[in-house]
Each structure stands twice: as structure tokens, then as C-alpha cells.
Amino acid sequence: MAVKTGSVERLVGSYQAWAANGASRVPAWLKDLREGGIRRFVELGFPNLKQEAWRFTSVAPIAETQFELAHPASRIPHLEEIQPFLVGEAGDRLVFVDGFFAPALSTSLPGGVRVASLAQALRENPETIQHHLCKYAKTDERPFCALNTAFVAEGAFVHVPAKLRVAEPIQLLFLTTTDRQVVVHPRNLVVVDREARASIVETYAALAENVYWTNAVTEIVVGDGARVDYHRVQRESNRAFHVAATQSHQGQGSTLNLHFVAFGSALARHDIGAVLAGPGGTLILNGLYLLAGAQHADHHTTIDHAADHCQSHEYFNGVLDGHSRGVFTGRIIVRPGAQKTDSKQTNNNLLLSADAHADSQPQLEIYADDVKCTHGSTVGPLDPRALFYLRSRGVGENEARRLLTYGFAAEILGRVEVAPLRVQLDRIVRDRVAQP
């Protein structure tokens, strides 16, 4: 499907108007970054089905819809309205409404950790931002990441200094409230320094079932010996478009546990990149997509073993109902010299209806000889043996189906260590599974 070039021009026009307006008083390096982003986007254009990385996902619905840049919301929601999306109240919290920082809903506690909106941090700590921003999420082959970079202005900034242990999870909530067809480009930067420890929950949600487009990019930098538990919950409106890139970069002996859960959006594409840059790093990539109706979700993961003695374990489960479609691509690169790499990847897809569809493709590129890499994927309906097993114990057929479906999702959610988040996600899955 050819994408009209008009849509690219429209976005460029919108960029120029935006850049000429309020975005003029920015430092030169940031201006260059944005200019580079829009140039790259124009060069790449919207992806099409002929491109290998996009052959299962058409972005024509995004390109053909006219989106306007969001304006600050006329009404900031009450705390009760955002309560269903929060995981406890004890930690630092940044809330963004229609792409704009909402200080009234946010909390920043005293202590060593720096949690601020990107715009504020750009004013107060431009050096740290300049040092890291756009250094990890490459725009070379990612038009949407390039577009996000063109519009870099707002998002979350988290900086955990060396050796600090942040007890409570830090929450980043991106909420869409407007009924206008807006696009938001949240840009998040998380820097956890040497031997520090933090848990972060990034949530995308909406107060109403509207059409809008989120184009988010998150960069996560994990210092030597640090440990980060990162959770990303995508529960956008079922009519929304969600495009995102999450890119992590790990130092020596660090641990990063990434959890990705996708429930929402009509069309979602998430590029997940993880670089194990120092020896002895550990990466867990834990993912779940639960789709129904006509939903389409595409997860592209790339794990880059750039150093020796690292391990990466990737588990992605998909539960697909209605005529939904789940796409999973799991690329693992083992660079020359990345000896003693231990990499394991599984992607299991449960098809709950005859019209649901899953594509699962592992891509292993191994350039070192002393490594252990395994991968496996399954696509299929509920296991009839398991169904009979449950029924033979007195569990009715429908309940047995629900239980097995729930278990398929619970296998992934059970690894989430933040208890209130696990409970929240568990409830969503139970509600979804309970529907006939």
C-alpha cells in the first residue's frame, strides 16, 4: 500500500509552524537535534509493507488520518479519575495530560532522585540531557523515532544518582483526555547511574475511547552494577494509534528487567531495543499482548549482545481473540567477542478465535562462537489436553477455557515484582478473559 507523500508534507508543515512558534528559544544543540529529526523523517517517509521490518503492519491508517498537535487540556482531570492508572501513592509521579505536564497531579518527593518533566529539566539540567538524549534511540531506520525527535519538547526525565536505591516505584503516566484528533510525541529519558536501583512504571492511557496518535520514545540508561525494573503498560483507547520505541543501554554487571504489557490501541507498533554494552549484564524482557476485536499490535524486539558474559531472557506471550493480529519479531545479535552469551527467547501465541492471527519470527545473528542461544515460538489454540485435564477435575468447559487463557497471561504478569501493578494488570486480564 503506497502512502501518500501529502501526509509527510503535512507533518513537516506542522513541524515548521511549531518550531517557528514557541520552540524558538531553545539551545542550539536541541535545535540541531530537532532539525536532524525532521530531515530524517522526510528522507525515510512513512514505512510501507515492502520494507522487511514493516511487512506485517500497515501504517496507512495513521498516514491517512489528519492529526493536529495537541493543546494544553482545558480541564485537568481530578486525582480520582487517574486513580485506576496509578500504582500506589508513595512514590514520585509525573503525569502528562494530552502531552503536557500536569504539576497538579504530579508529586516529586525530596531525596536524591531527580524526577522532572523534560521541559523543566532542559531548563535546569541541560548538560545531563544533552549528554544522553538521542544517543541511544537511533533514528537511522526508524521514521517514527525521527519524527518524535523532531518534536522533542516534553516527557519524563528521571535521574537516579550513583548507589541510590529508590524504594518506591516511580510512575510516569501519559493520559489523553481530548476528543480532538491529536498527536503527542512524548520523549522520556531515564538515567540510572552506577550501582543505583530503581523501579519505574510508564503507563499510556485515555479517559475516553477517542481517536488520537501517541508517538513515544523512551531511552533508558543503566549504569555499571545498577538494577532497573522497568514496566510499560499500554492501555490506550481502543481507537487510538500507538507507535513507540524503547531503547535501553546497559553497563557492566547491570540488571535490567523490562516488562511490556499491551492491551489497548487499534494499531500499535512498539520497537524495543536493548544493548548489553558491558560484560556480565543481565536483561529480562517480559512481554504480553492481549488483543481482541480488530486490534493489531506489532512488537519488534532487538537484543544486542555487544559484550561478553551477558545473559538475556525474553518471554513474550500473545493472547489473540476476535480477528485481532499479533506480530512478534525477536532479533538477537551476538557481536564478535561477545563470548559466553546466554540468550533465550520464547514467543507463545494463543489464538482464541479462528479469525485471530499471529506472526512470530525469530532472527538470530550470531558472530561469536562460544555462545548459547535458544529460541522457540508457538501459535495455536488452547491445548485440548489441558482443557480435558481441568474438566476431569470438575471445572466446567467455559471456566476451564477462561482459566487456561488467564494462565497464559498470568505467566507473564507473575514476573512483575511491583505488587500494586501486578494486581492492577491481573484485574484487567481477569475482566478481559471473563468477557464471553
Partner: protein, 263 residues
């Protein structure tokens, strides 16, 4: 039939008559008769491919099997007309030869769901996790087991012995009236076998009947049956007391098979 012991079958808990069963058009059971009274332990022995597991599975309601002819009456009910879950709720239990792994569901959640389905049927209140834990601990203690596997996903990563012990633990919690054990001894070393046998012996009661399907006699050293049947080529060819099992152990199955062919 030569050698068949005459037995009183009037008040049988489970009565199977002329049962013929096919799978994928292939007739496996070719007319099985069986009567088991409450309190009795019956063993079904036979060579591989004789139809032992088919009998066990068809009684539990496995959908892959087609009943061609015959009947199975359990507690006065037409067992074959019931769905698998209805049989379980009526008190029939099958310990699987190959217990199934269920991802994401802990053993204790699974067992509580099953127990509550049974309790609901009996009009009893469902148990919450805390009440269930009490029942569980009591049952675990009764059979001399441990509950280390309760918080792990059902059968996932379990050793062969753990899987079989888990089946018996389910039996202990669900307290069926008709327990069918399908090759529970297969793949067990002698210690695991003793553990399982001990658990089964603890669960013997005047209200409960057992049907133990096994290829080898060795399990019957530890669980003493009241009646032993030999199944060969889809038919029960011999029925006797516990001594029949020893005879089979000594002589193998061939003499019986030959006898069938001759007659």
C-alpha cells in the same frame, strides 16, 4: 470364560457392561464387563496396547474416544451421558498417566478451583484461599506428602515423581468416590512408588473404590488389590484375587494371550 471368579455385583458403585470403544475408527475396547463396589480396590493389568488406558480415559470422559456399544453405570447414573466435569462432580477421578502442564496457574489455585466446583455441586460454600489452605494442609498431612509444589504452576517443570505425587494429592483433596489410577507407577523409582502407594493406602475407605491400571505387578506389592483383572486385546480375559498379579509377574502375559487365541 475359563478362570473367571464369580462375584456379587448387585450393589456396584461402577458397573461396566459390554463396553466397546473406538478411537479414530479403531476399536480398542471390544466388550468390557466390570463391577466395582464401594470399598474395593480393583487392578487392571495387561500388556501394552491392550486398552487399559483407553478404559481409564473413557470412564473419565476423554473426548477423543467414541463409545460404540455398552454401558457404564456409576452410582445409578448413566456415566457415559455425563460431561467430564459432571463425572468429576459426581465423584469420579482419574489420576493421569501423563499429567498436563498448565502455565501461569499455580497448583493451589488450580486445586481450589476444582474443589470449589465440586463444593458448588454439593451445595456447599466455596472456599476462600485461607480456608482452602487449611483443607490442603490437613490433606497433605494425611497422605504424608508435602506442599512444596503448591505455589508452582501446575506440573510445570515437575519431575516424573512430582507429577504423580501431585495427582495423588489432588485425589486426596477432591475426595472422589471412584478413583481411577492410570499407570501411576510408570516412571517412578522405588522410593517414589512407595510414597505414592502409601498415600493411596491412606485414602482407602469403605466409601471409596479404586481402579488401578498398571502394566507391572510391583505397585500391587504396596497397594493390595481385592480383585485383579487381566485385559488383553480389548477384553477382560481373566479375573482373580491378588495372587493373579503374582502369577502374571512370574509368567508374563503371553500365556493369557495364547489362551484367548485358542479359545
Amino acid at each position: 470364560m475359563p478362570g473367571k471368579v464369580k462375584r456379587e455385583t448387585g450393589n456396584a458403585l461402577l458397573e461396566v457392561k459390554g463396553l466397546r470403544v473406538a478411537v479414530a475408527g479403531n476399536e480398542i475396547l471390544k466388550g468390557v464387563d466390570l463391577a466395582i463396589r464401594a470399598g474395593e480396590v480393583h487392578a487392571i493389568m495387561g500388556p501394552n496396547g491392550s486398552g487399559k488406558s483407553t478404559l481409564a480415559q473413557v470412564l473419565a470422559g476423554h473426548p477423543a474416544y467414541t463409545v460404540v456399544a455398552g454401558s457404564a453405570t456409576y452410582d445409578g447414573k448413566d456415566l457415559l451421558a455425563l460431561k467430564p466435569e459432571e463425572r468429576a462432580r459426581a465423584g469420579v477421578f482419574l489420576a493421569f498417566q501423563y499429567p498436563v502442564e498448565i502455565r501461569g496457574i499455580t497448583n493451589s489455585y488450580f486445586l481450589r478451583s476444582a474443589l470449589n466446583a465440586l463444593r458448588k455441586e454439593r451445595g456447599e460454600p466455596e472456599l476462600d484461599p485461607i480456608d482452602f489452605l487449611q483443607v490442603l494442609e490437613e490433606r497433605v498431612k494425611a497422605i504424608g506428602s508435602d506442599d512444596a509444589m503448591m505455589n508452582r504452576p501446575v506440573n510445570e517443570g515437575f519431575s516424573g515423581g512430582e507429577k504423580k505425587r501431585n495427582e495423588i494429592l489432588q485425589l486426596a483433596v477432591l475426595e472422589p468416590r471412584m478413583a481411577i489410577l492410570d499407570e501411576t507407577d510408570s516412571g517412578l523409582d522405588i522410593d517414589a512408588l512407595k510414597t505414592v502407594a502409601h498415600a493411596v493406602n491412606q485414602l482407602r475407605s469403605p466409601d471409596r473404590a479404586f481402579l488401578i491400571v498398571t502394566h507391572y505387578q510391583r505397585l500391587l506389592n504396596y497397594i493390595k488389590p481385592d480383585v485383579v483383572h487381566v485385559l488383553a486385546d480389548g477384553r477382560i480375559v481373566k479375573t482373580g484375587g491378588p495372587e493373579l498379579a503374582l502369577e502374571l509377574e512370574a509368567k508374563g502375559y503371553d500365556w493369557l494371550r495364547d489362551g484367548v487365541m485358542v479359545s
